[in-house]
Amino acid sequence: QTLTAGLSAAPSSMDPHFATTGQNQQLAMNLYDRLVHIDAAGNFTPGLATEWEVSEDRLTWTFTLREGVTFTNGSPFTAHDVVYTFERIPEVPNSPAPFTQRLAAISSVEAVDDQTLVVTTAEPAPVLISDLATIYIVSRDAGDAESADFDRGTAALGTGPYRMVSYSPGEQLVIARNDDYWGETAAFEEITIRFLDNAATRVASLQAGEVDFIDAVPPNDLQRLSADDGIDVISAPSARMLYMGVDQLEDTTVQIDPAVGNPFLDVRVREALSLGINREAIIDRIQFGSGAPANQFAPEGIFGHNPDLPTPTYDPERARELLAEAGYEDGWSMTIHGPAGRYVNDTDVLLAVGQMWAQLGLDVEVESVPTNVYFGQATAREFSAFMVAFGITTGESSLALRNVLGSFDEDRGWGSNNRFRYSSPEFDAALGEAFEAFDDAEREAALQEAARIAAEDVAVIPLYWEGNNWAVRANYSFTPSPDGRSLMTNISLD
């Protein structure tokens, strides 16, 4: 049995250590294995490590590695390979999304024997396990391989369910079943993964039977594909939240007349803007029902989700009242910004937001900026109200909260995505607690508290969690995973 899949995003490299980006990782997952796995419920399960324990002082981790595992070149998997991998990661150059952060806590690694690995951290690091669940182990036979050697396949030595057959950048990746895989035998003998970034092409290819599976089904095609008997559509919510960031730094803001001041400093205004957005309509009319109204970064199922937060309901009356209360009954003029082509139907969503705010009495211009310029300008704080998204890939909300909502502080590494400069000591304190807590329950409570504070402050104006959609030919089935990746291992033939 073979499978041909059409994926929307091509990887930047087949080097599993090059970038943490989803499109790279979801492919690496087929070829390489990790010490620890995460199951659908978010629990850590044994991978290449069969068991692990933490010392009393919570600084030393001892991993017992699985026996009898071999790499695709036949050499056995040992602790030395793990050491090699950990040492290689910081050496990979030019990575836009390096793994270094994931190994930052580690102060040393040691292969005690072939099957025993000891990891020491400088400080107690509760997130180590979840970080290790993203590190792919490569055979030390790869030597000083460069990223290009992984593309060519010469260094692509893993222990995953598949092995690499061929890769043409931007075009396709062919992988074949790894018969020596220690786990469940893979479902397909060979998989051809084609990179089809044009949505219409992707859908047409599925319909024409050229591919059996596609991801990122454009929402507008959902209905039609569902109606097709030969095709099944699978939808799942994702952990990527779109939101409007509004500048809260100073008394004035770039896109608004200084005479008006900076209305966003007033929490009533922020709340009004949030109440003025008809999230259901956006999801229904623009996203064709794909996605869910959002109230916080972590959707249900993500560690740190606060189930008690209400979702803002569309209430233009109340919104206008609040604006009036804040002294802005006549509104103000401004341009709102969003990227063009970065998120699903992003320009349309932004236009809809503009429409809705215009109906609150604001004089809104909408500008969607090509992605390549957009983020630079956003970072340079050239926008006053702008649309961005943050997707949680680690299974918990801590990074999202720290990077997006934490007070901007370069030295501390907080608030790197806080382009609108929300800053709340309470929030920072709550989040800080979460980063120190070793106990899961304690951490969860801290994260939930932080989420609550942010929601009450209307730190950002949440829009919706993007929906993920896949489609398969009817004789295949696909089970989405919580991280929203398109994993070949989740596809099977009926």
Partner: protein, 324 residues
């Protein structure tokens, strides 16, 4: 000789100017780091990346370093793919070239006979149909045609695959999808898409060429010699109308490579066009500059070939110095 030197000088000049303009342009747009960088990354990682890519240095320094490397044949690594930019482009060039070639073939093989027919029988219904078709072909935007082709031939009729390059065969050491049945199936729609505009152009050129050449005395003389109509048309007329056609086909070969940007992105054809548009969007400067330089070189080669063809077709033209 003079001609070749002149061409080379032009090429070097062109490449230098282009590379500077593009380099400066992309510098002006912004830093790729902002697009590339993982939202989860810290400031330290960000700075490290900027330093690694050499983006922290002043503009002129970046440019000089880049040009220095270029002179040694190194165009730098792609910011995104982390691989040599030139290699990345050369890897994808065959696919684009083969697409452009297939399109040119279609345009010429279909366009020439149709145009000659329309030129020989200007009033007939057939030729008016051809001309109407060519105006249409001229007018319909490329991307729109592509969508329609996919809709009709791939999705509705299922005759051709929607996307991709298909199987690649090897013949005489050249790897191309033109050598396999599967490959041919795959290339048909994109090649047709790319060809339509140029087909229309070739038809027009052929038609006006015939209308120009036919009343000439040497065609009359050929007829007066008692030659068969076939020989008159295929030898005497055709040879004479080839010049403008070769020019335009040659020029448009470059254009095709560029227009492949649209076709490639719609048909998911793994060529340079798709790469370049992504690269421009992601500000992958080394790739964009390398691409342009490769294009300049291609253009020079094409122009040379066209000029050589000229002197083959038209003995009056000498390579070094225009008309004799």
């Amino acid at each position: 000789m003079v001609y070749i030197i002149r061409r080379l000088m032009q090429a070097v000049f062109l490449a230098a100017v282009m590379s500077f303009v593009v380099f400066a342009g992309i510098y002006a747009v912004g830093s790729p780091v902002d697009i590339l960088i993982d939202p989860e990354a810290t400031q330290a990682e960000r700075l490290r990346l900027i330093a690694q890519m050499g983006l922290d240095r002043p503009f002129h320094e970046q440019y000089l370093v880049f040009m220095g490397n270029v002179l040694q044949g190194d165009f730098g690594n792609s910011f995104i793919y982390n691989r040599p930019a030139l290699g990345l482009i050369l890897e994808r060039m065959p696919a684009t070239l083969e697409l452009a070639f297939a399109a040119i073939m279609i345009a010429v093989v279909l366009g020439l006979p149709l145009g000659v027919y329309a030129g020989l029988r200007p009033g007939s219904v057939g030729s008016q149909g051809i001309m109407a078709g060519s105006i249409l072909g001229f007018s319909v935007p490329n991307f729109w045609q592509a969508i329609m082709l996919i809709m009709v031939f791939a999705v509705m009729l299922g005759w051709f695959p929607v996307s991709g390059r298909g199987e690649v065969g090897e013949f005489l050491g050249i790897r191309s999808s033109l050598f396999t049945l599967d490959g041919l199936q795959h290339i048909t729609l994109p090649a047709v898409n790319l060809a339509i505009g140029h087909l229309a152009l070739v038809i027009r050129l052929a038609r006006s060429g015939v209308r120009e050449v036919e009343p000439q005395d040497y065609i009359r003389f050929a007829r007066a010699k008692g030659l068969s109509e076939r020989r008159v048309v295929f030898v005497h007329i055709l040879r004479n109308i080839l010049i403008p056609i070769v020019t335009v086909v040659g020029m448009s070969f470059g254009g095709l490579i560029a227009f492949a940007v649209v076709t490639e992105s719609i048909f998911a054809w793994p060529g340079m066009g798709k790469l370049i548009i992504d690269s421009i969007q992601l500000l992958d400067r080394p790739v964009v500059v390398a691409y342009l330089i490769v294009i300049v070189v291609l253009f020079i080669i094409i122009n040379l070939v066209v000029d050589l063809l000229y002197s083959l077709i038209d003995p009056r033209i000498r390579i070094d110095g225009g008309k004799a």
